[in-house]
């Protein structure tokens, strides 16, 4: 265990824990959009920047989602400097995704009502990479990833056309912080509304209750992963 202070308060944390996780555990607010406990930290949104002073007196500005705790570390989560940078960052996001209420609300929380930049329309996608990380690390299929580079970066399936690897599980929609990806089940069809297009998948019917309970491709994937015969998934979990 190592001892550190956050905003003047003493805490203990296991070695290797990230500063952001310690703050969260103790209910200290640090804004973030690209961090989630289910996936490895990434450091894309930069909103979780904090000021640190190390034991040896070195001062630095670091992303708390990626900075491991160390003995004697003093963290300040909301200095004047940090606050000014966060304001600029959220203004950049507000111009990128003017329709996103999540971004707007966070802006208000950070003291920003408007952005000085011309508004764009990138739907609600802030390129935080939560969906791509969940798809790769949690689901294990990497059906979506980033395409193009820099200002042209977008999230998508290969060539925006090939959804073969997608099992329609909807993890991307569950983890998306801004609602840029949504999921909708209508009778025998699952729609995953992506920023670039809608993807449609066939749902499987429970042999007992008749409910459409999971996408066919997801059932195939679960059977393959678990080693259970496909027939096992003929019934929904409630009817098994």
């Amino acid at each position: 265990m190592v001892k550190l202070t956050i905003d003047g308060k003493q805490f203990e944390a296991a070695e290797g824990t990230m500063v952001l996780d310690v703050a969260r555990t103790h209910n200290i607010y640090i804004p973030t959009l690209c961090d989630h406990e289910s996936v490895t930290p990434y450091g894309a949104c930069r909103l979780c920047m904090v000021e640190i002073t190390t034991k040896s007196g070195r001062k630095n500005l670091v992303t708390s989602c990626l900075y491991p705790v160390e003995e004697g570390l003093a963290v300040q989560t909301n200095t004047e400097k940090v606050s000014a940078y966060r304001k600029m960052l959220i203004q950049l996001l507000m111009a990128r995704c003017p329709d996103s209420d999540v971004v707007k609300d966070l802006g208000k929380k950070l003291g920003v009502e408007s952005t000085p930049f011309p508004l764009e329309d990138h739907h609600k996608c802030i390129l935080c990479a939560l969906c791509t990380r969940a798809c790769a690390e949690v689901v294990g299929v990497s059906a979506i990833s980033f395409v193009n580079r820099g200002v042209e970066r977008e999230m998508g399936i290969p060539f925006f056309d090939n959804k073969d690897a997608c099992i329609a599980c909807g993890s991307c929609a569950y983890i998306c912080p801004t609602g840029a990806i949504t999921i909708e089940d209508k009778n025998d069809t699952r729609f995953i509304h992506q920023p670039w297009d809608d993807m449609k998948f066939k749902m499987a019917k429970c042999k007992v209750c008749g409910r459409y309970w999971a996408p066919v491709k997801q059932i195939e994937y679960m059977a393959q992963k678990s080693g259970q015969p496909l027939e096992f998934f003929d019934k929904c979990p409630d009817c098994r």
């Binding site: 930069r46 600029m88 960052l89 930049f117 980033f146 820099g150």
Partner: protein, 617 residues
């Protein structure tokens, strides 16, 4: 090729190479660097071989293809050894005369000798030419005499003697101490202390460790690493082997961008030759030390020059940087301790081992030791590759070595450090070339691109150019770089188009400082430097664009107009040259009329007018 199994055998090989070479034999050495190749050195070599064959001299005179010698603007460069006669701007058509006059009759071909635009007198030898006179060539010392494709050439000039010394008389810790004492700092951009980096990697836990050579040079106007890798790959390899021995690494990579085909070719060949001699591979020179190196080609993304992005690319992943709170010396390539250095840094290692830290650290300033190679480009008379001692002033580089500004125009700024560097104004020309001094004034040493600008460069336009480059090279992973650079470009575009607002300057500074502080990698953090430094030193130009709607350098098209003087005698040249048909004659011998609505401001009329009747306002 016989595998060398001991240090003694290396020395015996060296002796036999020296013995078999007649020091009096004439060698015509032609530069085969990229610049000279573009200027026809390939044809010169072909013509030379044919001419010598025709005259039955092929056994008496050797033709050698050397690496880049730096004076690229004056290529193709040829030296005649052992006399050391230096010819420049040689073309295939000059070869017959060169052979007849110099090789057969021992006289110089005067029109091929260097002539200085200011100084009078003859410049027969390379070291007399002002471009070379103030340089201190350590890393590039033998570049005109070594054929990069011939390992024996490198061994002839003492190559691999530093490796022999390190393996036989030094302990790994001792080598690290020597590098630390030398004060060598990374030549790739950051300027981190090389010895300390090595020490961290040596001390890191793990059985498998890597050393990596970064040859992913991508700055506009930079070609130092390319020339070195093309011209003397063995010096880099020797440095890497010594480094690997000191660090305890078993495997190494040379990461070269795919757009440098000659560098890839020469590096690959160097590895093969070194392996055949037993200087690389298992049990190097019988010492029991094993080290293997591979060449890996990069796809050409600027961001892959950043160490963590480079490692991701080596792993076969998308070249995107990651946070370095856990250093690559602890967890780098494939999660193993990895030590990455730039081409030039590696090439300095054998020099330090051979001459000692004390000797090396006597060159340079308190905080920056040794020499630095710059690619001197832009509006300077002599463009090319220069190696200078640290501490030399910018003025000496630009005026004494570079020969001043083209066309005797007025100097305006020099940008050091590539797209992430800053623009330094005339008032700071006495600034010494030093890692810390350059950072202090808002620029950086960077990898060594030095772009000289004159009064005809608009600084807002320059800032826009670099930001545009960075916009297309940003990887897009982190928000401030991806969105911030885009917004800076948007604002700079509107300023150059005459639609800027005074608040835009503050906004640019706010975005810039945010990027400096919050971007994920070094490239993002330094991306606003061209903007911030031009605002700092050339604020008046920004104000002129925004408030007065004028471009003082007359570059920004939206803010200038072309006008015909009242004295124009209607010669008709501009009428023919105008691609828009915007210029029409009205009356004989009376000024032509330019229709501003049709004018696209291409400048064709200005270029063709011999009487200077076209004015830009």
């Amino acid at each position: 090729m016989k595998k060398l199994s001991s240090l003694m055998e290396l020395e015996e090989l060296r002796k036999s190479i020296i013995k078999n070479r007649d020091p009096k034999k004439t060698i015509v050495s032609v530069c085969g660097g990229t610049g000279c190749t573009a200027l026809g050195s390939g044809e010169v070599i072909k013509a030379l071989r044919e001419e010598l064959k025709k005259r039955g001299l092929e056994d008496k005179i050797d033709v050698k293809v050397s690496g880049c010698r730096g004076f690229c603007q004056h290529g193709a460069l040829v030296t005649i050894e052992p006399q050391g006669i230096f010819y420049q701007r040689v073309r295939a058509k000059d070869v017959a005369e060169l052979v007849e006059t110099t090789l057969l009759n021992g006289k110089t071909v005067d029109h091929l000798l260097y002539r200085d635009p200011v100084l009078t007198g003859q410049f027969i030898h390379e070291h007399e030419v002002p471009f070379y006179a103030k340089q201190k060539r350590l890393v590039l010392a033998n570049s005109s005499q070594i054929d990069p494709k011939v390992i024996d050439d490198y061994i002839f000039f003492g190559g691999y003697s530093a490796l022999a010394k390190a393996l036989s008389t030094m302990k790994p810790e001792g080598i690290i101490e020597e590098i630390k004492a030398s004060g060598l700092r990374g030549r790739g951009g950051g300027g981190f202390a090389t010895g300390r980096k090595w020490e961290s990697t040596r001390k890191a836990k793990g059985d498998l460790k890597y050393v990596i050579c970064n040859c992913d040079e991508g700055d506009p106007g930079a070609f130092m690493d390319r020339s070195l890798m093309e011209g003397n790959p063995h010096s880099i390899l020797e440095g890497m082997i010594i480094g690997a021995f000191a660090i305890g690494a078993q495997e190494g990579y040379i990461y070269v961008r795919h757009e440098y085909p000659l560098a890839v070719e020469n590096a690959t060949l160097a590895l093969k030759q070194a392996e055949e001699y037993g200087l690389l591979g298992d049990n190097i020179l019988g010492s029991g030390f094993n080290f293997h190196v591979k060449v890996s080609r990069g796809g050409g993304a600027f961001v892959c020059g950043e160490s963590t992005a480079l490692m991701a690319s080596l792993e076969g992943k998308v070249g995107e940087p990651r946070a370095k709170y856990v250093h690559t010396s602890d967890s780098g390539l494939w999660g193993k301790p990895s030590n990455l250095n730039n081409v030039e840094t590696w090439a300095n290692v054998p020099i330090i081992i051979n001459n000692g830290a004390k000797w090396f650290s006597a060159i340079g300033t308190a905080g920056s030791k040794g020499t630095k190679i710059f690619s001197l480009v832009g509006k300077v008379r002599n463009t090319g590759l220069v190696e200078v001692p640290m501490g030399i002033s910018l003025k000496e580089i630009i005026y004494d070595i570079g020969g001043g500004i083209q066309g005797n125009r007025k100097f305006k700024a020099v940008q050091t450090g590539g797209p992430s560097g800053g623009c330094i104004p005339e008032s700071m020309l006495n600034l010494p070339v030093d890692f810390d001094e350059l950072t202090r004034v808002g620029s950086m040493m960077g990898s060594g691109a030095m772009i000289v600008m004159d009064e005809k460069n608009c600084m807002v336009d320059i800032a826009k150019y670099f930001v545009n480059f960075l916009q297309s090279e940003s990887c897009g992973k982190c928000l401030p770089c991806r969105e911030g650079v885009k917004r800076m470009h948007e604002i700079l575009t509107r300023i150059t188009e005459g639609n800027g607002k005074m608040e835009d300057i503050d906004l640019l500074e706010q975005i810039g400082t945010t990027l400096n502080a919050t971007a994920l990698c070094g490239l993002g953090q330094t991306a606003p430097n061209p903007v911030l430094s031009t605002i700092r030193y050339f604020r008046d130009e920004y104000v002129a664009h925004i408030r007065d709607k004028k471009c003082p350098a007359k570059v920004c098209k939206a803010l200038i107009t072309y006008n015909i003087s009242e004295k124009c005698p209607n010669c008709g040249l501009c009428i023919k040259a105008c691609p828009q048909g915007a210029i029409t004659p009205v009356e004989k011998k009376k000024p032509v009329v330019l229709d501003q609505a049709k004018c696209i401001k291409c400048g064709s009329c200005l270029d063709v007018c011999k009487l200077q009747m076209v004015e830009v306002k």
